[in-house]
C-alpha cells in the first residue's frame, strides 16, 4: 500500500514554508509576504500568550477547576497565522481546539473555559465575534460553514468563511459532503485542516494514504499543504485562500501540517500509543522558537521585548485563573432555559414540576429538619 510517512511529506517539495525551524526566512513566489518586524513581533506576542493561556487552562483542569481541556500546544502557529489573516466580516467555524483563533477574534480567553468547566456550551455570542460555538461532533461544522458561505453569496457579501477541522475529521461523510456542496455552489469557504497527525490514538495514515491536501483536487478545488508550525506561511497561504474565496473562485483547502505536542485532551494518555521520541523531533520544529530566533537574529527584538511578553503572559494567566475561580455557578432551573425560541408547554410542565420538587425539599428541611 502507498502509505506515506508524515516526515517525508513535511520535508517534501509540495509544502509551503516561509520561516524554517531555524528561523530563516524563505521566499515562495506563489505566496509572497510583505511583513514588518513590528507585525512579526505582534505575531510572536499572540503565539506566546495563547500558549501561556493554554498552559494555565491545563493546570486549572489538573486542579479540578475544569472537567476537561483540549490543549492547542504545538498548533499555535497554524491558529494564529490563519486567525490573523481574517477580516472582521469573515465568519469562523472552529472545532473544540481553536483557542488561538478565538484569541484573534477578540474573545476573552476566560470565556473559552466555560464550556470545559461545564457551566454552559460556549460563553460568547457567535454573531458578535463572527466566531461560531465550538463543535464537538467531528466534522459537523464544515457543513454549517458551507451553508453560511452560501448565505453570504446570496447576500452579495464580500466576506468569506473559514472552517477548522482535523486529520481525523477528514474521514467523516459530512466533511466530504461539505467539499461537494462548496464546490457545487462555488461557495466562499476556506477549509482549514490542521493535520496534527493524530486523531486521539489513531495516526493520520489510517485516514488517508496520500497527503490530505490532495483530497480537494478530487473535488475540483485547490488544496495546498503548508508548514503548520510556520506562522508566516499560515498567514500568507490563508490570506491567499480567503482572497480566492472573496474573488468568487470558490472553496480552497489548506492542510496545515503540524503536530499535537500535548495529549488529545487532559483525559488522554499518549504514552499508550506513541513514542516520546516523536515529540522530541517536533520540539525542534516548535512554532514559537523559530519566530524568536528570527526576531533575535535579525535584531528585531531584544530580551526586554521577550521578557515583557512573558510578563504579560503571566498577567493573562493570573487574570484567567481568577476569572475561572470566580465563575458563577448556573442555577438548576437554567436547565429549562432556551430549549425553544417559541417556548414549549412540555418544557414548562417539567420546569414547574421540578420547581415544586425543589420547593418540597425546602419544606422537608423545615419539617423533618432535613432527615433524608
Amino acid at each position: 500500500m502507498v502509505a506515506v510517512s508524515s516526515m517525508d511529506i513535511a520535508t517534501g517539495a509540495d509544502f509551503v514554508q516561509l520561516l524554517t525551524p531555524e528561523g530563516q526566512r524563505r521566499e515562495n513566489p506563489n505566496y509572497p509576504l510583505e511583513i514588518t518586524p513590528e507585525e512579526v513581533r505582534g505575531l510572536y506576542r499572540d503565539l506566546a500568550l495563547v500558549r501561556r493561556f493554554d498552559v494555565e487552562a491545563t493546570a486549572l483542569q489538573r486542579q479540578g477547576e475544569l472537567g476537561i481541556w483540549a490543549q492547542l500546544l504545538g498548533q499555535e502557529a497554524a491558529q494564529i497565522g490563519s486567525g490573523r489573516a481574517l477580516a472582521p466580516g469573515d465568519m469562523v467555524f472552529p472545532t473544540y481546539r481553536e483557542h488561538g483563533v478565538a484569541w484573534c477574534r477578540g474573545i476573552p480567553p476566560e470565556k473559552l473555559l466555560e464550556l470545559f468547566r461545564g457551566v454552559n456550551f460556549g460563553g460568547w455570542d457567535p454573531r458578535q465575534h463572527n466566531f461560531a460555538l465550538y463543535t464537538i461532533v467531528i466534522g459537523a461544522q464544515t457543513l454549517h460553514a458551507t451553508g453560511y458561505a452560501m448565505g453570504m453569496q446570496r447576500d452579495g457579501a464580500e466576506d468569506a468563511v473559514i472552517v477548522y477541522f482535523g486529520d481525523g475529521a477528514s474521514s467523516e461523510g459530512d466533511v466530504n459532503e461539505a467539499f461537494i456542496f462548496a464546490a457545487s455552489y462555488n461557495a466562499p469557504v476556506v477549509f482549514f485542516l490542521q493535520n496534527n497527525q493524530w486523531a486521539i490514538s489513531v495516526p493520520e495514515e489510517r485516514q488517508s494514504r496520500i497527503p490530505l491536501y490532495r483530497r480537494a483536487h478530487g473535488f475540483g478545488f485547490p488544496g495546498v499543504r503548508v508548514d503548520g508550525n510556520d506562522v508566516l506561511a499560515c498567514l500568507a497561504v490563508t490570506r491567499k485562500a480567503l482572497q480566492h474565496a472573496r474573488d468568487g473562485q470558490g472553496p480552497f483547502l489548506i492542510e496545515a501540517f503540524t503536530y499535537r505536542m500535548g495529549a488529545h485532551t487532559t483525559s488522554d494518555d499518549p504514552t499508550r500509543y506513541r513514542l516520546a521520541s516523536e515529540l522530541e523531533t517536533w520540539k525542534l520544529r516548535d512554532p514559537i522558537e523559530r519566530v524568536k530566533a528570527y526576531l533575535s537574529r535579525g535584531g528585531f527584538a531584544d530580551s526586554s521585548f521577550f521578557d515583557a511578553v512573558e510578563a504579560e503572559g503571566d498577567e493573562l494567566a493570573a487574570r484567567v485563573r481568577a476569572a475561572c475561580l470566580s465563575m458563577p455557578e448556573p442555577e438548576p432551573t437554567d436547565i429549562f432555559e432556551q430549549v425553544y425560541a417559541g417556548g414549549s408547554p412540555l418544557v414548562d410542565e417539567d420546569r414547574a414540576a421540578f420547581e415544586r420538587y425543589l420547593a418540597g425539599f425546602a419544606d422537608d428541611s423545615l419539617a423533618e429538619a432535613g432527615d433524608r
Binding site: 460556549g122 457567535p126 459537523a140 457543513l143 448565505g151 459530512d174 432556551q338 414549549s344
Partner: protein, 327 residues
C-alpha cells in the same frame, strides 16, 4: 375555493411563505424543475429563481447541515426529504445540531428550519418509501414535530411551520396527497388555530380515537361505521406530535372514558405509547379501559403486496374500539 389536493395546498402554502419573506428558501433533491417527486414545489423555482428554490447534490446530511449554516446567516430554509426512509443520513445533523443549537447558544442562534417529510405507506412503493419515523423525532428535545391530515391544515400548517423560529419536522401524509378539501386561502394566518394544537374532527361520546396524518381519515371512516353500529367515536386529530396538546386530548378522554390511538408506525415505542402513558396518568380516574393502540406491527414495513394488512385500517380500529368497549 373549490376542492384542493393536499399536495397542491402545500404548494400554495410554500408559495405564500416565499412571497411573505425573502429569507425563505427551499432546498432538496429534485425540488427545482421537476417540482419534487410529488410536485409539492411545482413551479416555485420558475417563479422564485434557483437561489431560492435550490436543487442540491444527492446528500441528505449535506442538505440539513448547509440549511443549519444558512439559518445561522439569517435564512429560513425549508428542506425537502424525498421520502421518509431517506431522512436517516441527515439524522445526526437534525438531532445533534439542528435540535440543539438554540439551547447550546443560550438562545443566541435561532434555527428556523423546516424539514418536510412525506411519510407513511399505502402507495404500493418499494422498500424505504413507506416509513413512519415520527417518534424518532418527537423523542428529541429541541425539535417540534407536526403532521397534517387534510388540505386546509396542510396549507395553514406549512406556513406556520415556516414562520416558526424553532426547527419543525413536518410530516406529510403521502398516500393522502391527492385527497381534496375546500378552504379559504385568503383567511388570515394570525387567526388560524395554533400550529401545536390538536383538533376534535368528529365529536362523539363513547370512545376517543387519537390519530394524525394519514390515519385521521381511517379513524373518521371507522367512526362512520361505528355510528351505524350505535357507537359514537370522538376523533381527535393530534396534529402536533411535539409538543402534544394534552388539554384537548384529555378533555375528550375525560368525557368518553375510553381511548384508542391509531398510527402506521409500529406500536412498540410509537407516538401512541406516549399518548397512552400520559393520558393514563392525566385521566386515570376517568378511564374505563386501558388506552388501546392500533398501529404497524413489530416488523419492518413489508413488501407492498402485503401492506394493506400491515396498515391499520377501519376494521382494526373498530376491533380495538370493540375491545375498549368490552371493558
Amino acid at each position: 375555493m373549490a376542492g384542493v389536493a393536499i399536495a397542491r395546498a402545500l404548494n400554495m402554502g410554500l408559495r405564500k411563505a416565499l412571497e411573505a419573506d425573502s429569507k425563505v428558501i427551499i432546498m432538496g433533491e429534485d425540488v427545482g424543475k421537476l417540482g419534487g417527486v410529488f410536485r409539492v414545489t411545482d413551479g416555485l423555482q420558475k417563479d422564485f429563481g434557483e437561489d431560492r428554490v435550490m436543487d442540491t447534490p444527492l446528500a441528505e446530511s449535506g442538505i440539513i447541515g448547509t440549511a443549519v449554516g444558512l439559518a445561522m446567516r439569517g435564512y429560513r430554509p425549508v428542506c425537502e426529504i424525498q421520502f421518509d426512509g431517506f431522512v436517516f443520513p441527515a439524522y445526526d445533523q437534525i438531532v445533534n445540531q439542528l435540535a440543539k443549537l438554540h439551547y447550546r447558544s443560550q438562545g443566541l442562534v435561532k434555527m428556523p428550519v423546516v424539514v418536510r417529510i412525506p411519510f407513511g405507506g399505502g402507495i404500493g412503493a418499494v422498500e424505504h418509501h413507506s416509513e413512519s419515523p415520527e417518534a424518532l423525532f418527537a423523542h428529541v428535545a429541541g425539535l417540534k414535530v407536526v403532521a397534517c391530515s387534510n388540505a386546509a391544515d396542510a396549507y395553514t400548517m406549512i406556513q406556520q411551520a415556516v414562520a416558526s423560529d424553532d426547527p419543525v419536522v413536518f410530516f406529510e401524509p403521502k398516500r393522502r396527497y391527492w385527497e381534496r378539501a375546500e378552504f379559504d386561502p385568503s383567511a388570515s394566518l394570525a387567526e388560524a388555530v395554533p400550529l401545536h394544537s390538536a383538533r376534535v374532527v368528529r365529536p362523539g361520546r363513547d370512545v376517543t380515537v387519537l390519530a394524525y396524518g394519514p390515519t385521521v381519515k381511517t379513524a373518521l371512516d371507522a367512526a362512520k361505521v361505528a355510528a351505524d353500529e350505535g357507537h359514537e367515536l370522538e376523533v381527535v386529530d393530534v396534529r402536533s406530535l411535539s409538543p402534544v396538546d394534552w388539554d384537548t386530548i384529555c378533555d375528550s378522554v375525560r368525557r368518553t372514558g375510553r381511548c384508542v390511538t391509531v398510527h402506521e408506525a409500529q406500536v412498540f415505542l410509537g407516538v401512541g405509547a406516549e399518548l397512552a402513558a400520559r393520558v393514563t396518568e392525566k385521566c386515570f380516574y376517568s378511564l374505563e379501559a386501558p388506552v388501546l393502540r392500533v398501529g404497524g406491527f413489530a416488523t419492518p414495513y413489508p413488501p407492498s403486496r402485503m401492506e394493506e394488512h400491515f396498515l391499520p385500517d377501519l376494521d382494526r380500529v373498530l376491533e380495538a374500539v370493540d375491545r375498549s368497549l368490552a371493558y
